[in-house]
Amino acid sequence: MRKREFVLLAVAFLTLAGLGACSSEPAEELAAARAAIDEARAAEAETYAPEQMDEMTQKLRDAEAAVQAENEKFALFRDYEAANSALAEVREGAQEAVQTANTEKERVRQEAEQALVEAEAALNSAQTALENAPRGKGTRADIAALNADLEAVRSALESARQAIQAGQYMQAKNQITSAKSQAESVENEIEQALSRSGRS
């Protein structure tokens, strides 16, 4: 009888211990998942990996709701396994979002810098065309006006360069695209002005 009572006691103890293992709130996992999301936000994942970032944010909220729901149960019946699994997915997903954001940011940076090189080339080409334009009464005022146009393009490109230095790659890319097309249109205008004046 004593041996039977001992066995029953041991089984009861082990069962309770087992239940206890699943019944503690995953505070560390929650903190780690939230930190991972904050890190992704700091890496500008909301700008450069917006869908991934939103998915992980929603998954974190699901996990928090699951934890909250388990917390409201009687301790012996709490089971945080599903919440733990979701929190692990959030950490992993947020880390992937950081990588995606960094890759995308690098891609946009390279595009912006390449676009800047091309825009500066277009500006220099227009400037050269203007410098080589024949000077005379018929072109003097046109040249002065076109110089003013190129000055505006130069100013826009400088602003875009500063945006790149500040890490605002998407904004820079937009500015460069429009400045480049204006530089090209000025060069066209120079050619048209020269052909109108009978010189090319």
Binding site: A65, Q68, A144, N147, T177, S178
Partner: protein, 361 residues
Amino acid sequence: MPLNKVGGGQHKWMGGLGLLLLLILLPGCREIPTSDWERVQAVRKELLRNRADQLFTEEFSRFEERNEVLRRSLYQAAAKSFLFRTGITELRVALNAQWRSGDALLEVVRRTKQQLEAELSGEVAVIEGLLEARGMGILDQGYRRNRKEVQIRLAEVRHFIEIGDFDAAARLIDELASRSSEIRRDLEEMENRYSDPELLRYWSSLRRKAYEYSIERPALLIDKYHRTVYLLEGGAVRSRFAADLGWNGWSDKIREGDGATPEGEYRIRKQKGPEDTDYFRALLLDYPNEADRYQFARAVREGRIDSRSRIGGMIELHGEGGRGRNWTDGCIALSSRDMAGLYDLAYVGMPVVIVGKCELE
């Protein structure tokens, strides 16, 4: 079979049937409405894709708040064992209401996007129209630089409209509003000169003189605002020619280098054939006249121009024009074809009356 045994058998059979029915019906009332929740999440994604968080910030925040409440209710229900779940029907109703609310907001967002796109595109068109400056082709450098900067930013606005970032487009339009106000002010200052009653009366009197001169011999009347040269003969218009003026042609000429075309009464002083000009043919005017000298002296006295300035000269009607914009240093340029016809009818001493603006008789 004893009655009690028969009665006891029926009760057991009915009890079993009732339990079976209960087990069949219960799942429907206690199943977690996952598909309803996924439908709400789908409409949320669509709202984000259409930038509802930017366009309708408050409404979208409220939608998100209700979402969080529903999420917690959903997980609370899921945490309970099947037999103890309650409130599932109410949760399903709430999820459907949330989906309908999101769907209605999505419809409003889409309509608003279309309206915004039209409004912002309209504002872009207004600013672009302003920059065109009624085809005057203004070459003033300050104006040109302003205009080009605005054109560059307008291209960015168009890009933001295309990608649906109306918030960014609207902010940039607001920034441009002050720049385009400067341009509008510059243009209004130029325009105001041409609606000044005193000037209009003066120009009208000059116009009448031109017609009087033309009764005996042909005369020229030049309307700067309409950029037109009229050949008058016998008190009527015989021909008209499109003209290009000085790059600062809006203004009345005061000094050398100001790019303005003078206003007043002049005479042709010399006719220049192709060997004497680079501009096909030319008719040299007797600018500056006495009125111009008086105006120049007063401007120097009043400090409006530098005392070292010169009054200038060499104002001509000449060819190589017809460019559709003001580009000369103050001369009046016609197309070489028009100049050919005019040159043959011109003569030394021919009256040339230049006004800012006039209506023909």
